[in-house]
């Protein structure tokens, strides 16, 4: 049984169409906007391919007249890239500045905490000293009241 498809068999045309379309697209360098041109060329080269439809006609009209030229697209693309680069540089700079400020704040906070701890230790020592002095003094007063204060 002969499995090879016959060249003139209409059934084989749709299977070959995507490959042909891709080849034409590569050859003429068109993208999505060139759908009609590809379809048209495909139809001319391969009459058994899909017929030119009203939708394809409207596609090429839109692709041709509503789009920008390659130069304009390239120019706009470059502008957008430059703007994006600028924004990125600005964000990076702001981020660096924020990180620097955070580092400074953290260092200041650590310094304040250290100072607070130091002061707290000093206060604790002073309170201990005051308690001792208070105890010593009241003891002396108690002794004085006991021995020198004549009951009356």
């Amino acid at each position: 049984m002969d499995d090879k498809p016959k060249d003139d068999a209409p059934a084989s045309a749709p299977a070959r169409q995507p490959e042909l379309t891709a080849t034409i697209k590569r050859a003429i360098g068109v993208g999505a906007g060139g759908g009609f041109a590809v379809t048209l060329l495909s139809a001319l080269i391969n009459p058994t391919g899909p017929s030119i439809t009203l939708g394809a006609i409207s596609g090429i009209v839109v692709g041709t007249y509503s789009g920008l030229s390659d130069a304009q697209v390239k120019k706009r693309r470059n502008m957008l890239l430059a703007e994006a680069e600028g924004r990125k540089a600005m964000i990076d700079a702001e981020s660096d500045e924020t990180l620097r400020q955070l580092a400074t704040a953290r260092a200041n906070l650590a310094s304040c905490l250290e100072e607070r701890d130091g002061l707290k230790r000093r206060v604790d020592r002073l309170e201990e000293r005051m308690d001792r002095m208070y105890g010593d003094t009241t003891h002396e007063i108690d002794e004085g009241l006991r021995h020198k204060g004549n009951p009356s």
């Binding site: 309170e127 005051m130 208070y134 003094t137 009241t138 007063i141 108690d142 004085g144 009241l145 006991r146 020198k148 204060g149 004549n150 009951p151 009356s152």
Partner: protein, 136 residues
Amino acid sequence: MTRPRILIVEDNTTVAGYVAILLGGLHGLNVARADSLAAARAVFRSFRPDRLVVDLNLPDGDGTEFLREAKAVRPQIRSVVTTGRGDDDAREAAARAGADAYLVKPVECGAIVEALDIPPIHELWDDERPGPEATP
């Protein structure tokens, strides 16, 4: 915190001096002294104390007299009797005059501070610290 104002009515200068050192010097309270009944009446009017430390045996009378007068003028005033008399008659007389506490000499600092309801020394000391709102 309002610091208590203490009037010490005591004719024994040694005892009065020690109590003044305890309450004025150590606790930093406002202290005035009177060594007789007459002096106590005069100082009471000018000094307006809110705590009293009163001896019973004064040169010109009994301390309960002054205590009674002071309580009549200012019923909320807190008073402590310090005396060498430990008999019940004296205790009852002091209680009738309005004494809040009765301490027999020799008294001790802790007993005086407690009887007068003096705030702990740390609280008084904290009062001197600059608060967060204080300006340098």
